[in-house]
Symmetry: C2
Subunit: 110 residues, 2 copies
């Protein structure tokens, strides 16, 4: 049905999934990598850097912004985006807790 049954999962499980979805597209990975690489903030250079149309980039930026991973500031006619450090670290913490689940017990059957 294309509809995820979020109600049967824990809040934590849903949050992990929502954050993971942010990185589940190479364009968004590329955008974030570029925002990290540039010491000065980027705006529509992303359209040139990445090879996608402007509306497409704008849409990906919107998703990252709604998740809180990036911030955007209007500067004249252009918009300056950058990583939201606080939320980025929160996301890292939540995902790393999941990645670092104790593996010692599992993995001994197959």
């Amino acid at each position: 049905m294309g509809l995820t049954k979020t109600e049967i999962f824990s809040e934590q499980q849903n949050q992990i999934a929502v954050f993971a979805k942010a990185f589940a597209h190479p364009a968004r990975v590329a955008i974030l990598q570029h925002l990290f690489k540039m010491d000065t903030c980027v705006c529509g250079d992303l359209v040139i850097e990445i090879g996608l149309a402007q509306p497409t980039i704008s849409q990906h930026l919107k998703e990252l912004k709604q998740l809180g991973l990036i911030k955007g500031n209007i500067e004249g006619t252009s918009v300056c985006y950058c990583i939201d450090q606080e939320n980025w670290n929160k996301m890292k913490k939540i995902l790393n807790e999941f990645f670092d689940l104790d593996i010692s017990a599992a993995g001994n059957c197959c």
Copy 2:
């Protein structure tokens, strides 16, 4: 168009996206958490544990298996799944390299 333009991105960017997609659904997060929690391997208990139909769980398991994050062994009529430690660690390394990009330079504009 629903079709990701993978060809314009680097192999690394695509790989991050593919791994992230594994966690981009709470059911797969729940499956992996359960596989970590149980010291003995699980099979169709997942259908009971998680509240989804058997074909749906089977489909999610297939995706995780294709990615190499889990392994499955046939034991009689049931199938025993567990984390593939080697690939799990590979995935962790790739995603953490991305998460740990130097934040000092970025994030000072907004």
